[in-house]
Amino acid sequence: MGLQAYLILAAVVFGIGLFGVVTRRNTIGILLGIELMLNAVNINLVAFARFSGSEVGMVFTVFAICITVAEAAMGLAIVILLFRVRRTVMADHLDLLKG
């Protein structure tokens, strides 16, 4: 399998993640979508690293995974706080920014 197959996979995963972020009503679902998008990026990094023979991409991936974990923890904490304050985690109820 060539580089292209990995890139297509990453694009598909990114698209699914974006679709989830845009359409899910539940905040947890949105977070899951974000995770998917990040992982698509990770796939890209690893694939490029593998096919170009440089280890830099691998190192970046390790960093990216760490950051993803932290981001997920932060995101879940925000969701919990949000629920405590607003008694809901439905994204379309959270429209305080409405003009």
Binding site: V22, D95, L97, G99
Partner: protein
Amino acid sequence: MDSGLLTLVALLAPVAAFLVLAIVAPLRRAGRPGAYFSILGATVSLGAAVAAWRGYDGAITRMVWDWLPSEGRPLATIGVLADETSTVMLVLVALVAFLVQVYSLSYLSDEPPQGLGRYYTYQSLFAFSMMGLVLAPNLLQLFICWELVGLCSYLLIGYWYQKPEAARAAVKAFWTTKAGDVGLLIGIVMLWKLAGTFDLGELRAMATGNELPLAGLSIITFCIYLGAMGKSAQFPLHVWLPDAMEGPTPVSALIHAATMVTAGVYLLHRTSWLFALTPDVLLIIAWIGAFTALLAAVLACVQDDIKRVLAYSTVSQLGYMMAAIGAGFSTAGFFHLLTHGLFKALLFLGAGAVIHAVGSNDLSRMGGLARRMPQTAIVFIIGTLSLAGIPLFAGFLSKEEILGSVWAGGLVGPFLLLMLVAFLTAFYMFRVVFLAFFGTAPAAAGHHESAHHGAHEHDPPMPMLLPLWILALLSLAVGVYSTFIGPGLVALPEGAAEHTAPGWLTPAAVGVAIAGITLAWLTYQRRTINAASLASMFGPIRHAALAKFWIDDLFERVLAAGTLAFSSLVGWVDRYIVDGVLNVVSVWTVTTGDEMRTIQTGRAQDYVYGLAVGLLLLLVWARWSLT
């Protein structure tokens, strides 16, 4: 000390008094102590001025400091310039200022202390400003002081600001002179553009050395003359001076007779070398001067208010001075300025004493005062004789000097006008003398009132009487000294042409004056000529004169109509153009905003969606445009 330093002392003494009075409020509110302080300043100033004048040794002294730094050399300087003209003028200003301040102490004794303190604060400021004007080494400092004296004039005319007429007169004086001042400022700036300097000495060197381009110089000199026209009350800007009589009488004596109103004449004398280059403007000055003199003299004949007679007389005499300057002999005008300053201040202060005693300005309520106020009568008559131009009095010499110079300048028209004015001057002044000091006291409407006033009608107290006598003796002394010993008061500046008066001039001038006196005597003393029939002989003129020749009305109408038309135009522009544009823009903003806000849903997901679509579009665009 040399003259420059002394003039500086004379200049700084009143401003020190002013600053102390202005800053130390308790001293000012105390009234009389403040007044003594101000008089102290005036005394120092007078002493220094006299010392500077007597010690002047013919060398022009300049003490200047740089101001307004610029590339190369400073744009302007400030300081003092002591020469023949400025030192003698300085003495006049300091002398009259000092005497008036002493006189006011008694004249305004009924004023509340705060008012008195305010009065003396303004007086000190005025003395400083006027001296700064006189000593100015450049046109810029002169202009600043010129405006300062205008301000003091405004403040002092409106001293009794509770009186609506006084407040109105103050504003009128301010605006009318300001109309001329705009011209002066434009003239000074244009002259600077032409010559590159404000300095009088440098300008003079350029003018006499034929270094100034003559093209456009006429406009400059005319603009400068406009300033002089406003300050020195020349037709048609003379309308403010009679109204300025609403101020206290000592103020009229100082500002509106002896010093400030003569600033215009002084300015033209100071820059006579410049005006000599533009004979056409000089001709205008001479004609307007002579016409003003006649107009004001006619107006003076019909006034019943003693101060207004003197005010119109001042306008008339200023016209005299201007005519001499217009004829090219500014020294004659300046000489008349000095003598006029003495005797007109005397006349005003004398009138003040009369008003103080009678309690009214109205000539018809006076009469027979010579018996009750003999000393006032004597000094007033000395002043009147001087103004009428009777030999041995100061006014005679200067008046004849002016008539001679106008004749020598070849201006027959103005000369004839001025001869007529000489006749009218003698007539209206002696009309005042006969009506106020001789004849019988009027049978007053209310007997009690008359008795009440009669008790007050005596010579004024010493602080008022002393200035009167000093001015009277000086008027006499200058006349006698100049007649028998020689012209020691004002030396001709170098290069000024001397003129020889024709032999018939002196008898003619004196004859005309005596004719005027005789007519006044026959009319108002002997009653040989009925005043009413004399008046009806000049029916239309008298009617017009009583209406001030409708000049004031014309100004008011034109200004009122002009202002209204202009303001309605401005109002229309403001309402429909300025406001219109603004309203349209704001309505647009509101409606577009209303429509645009609907895309702001407040849901983060919509924004992410927008972001993704935007990014996609960017990618597509990049793909299409980069390949």
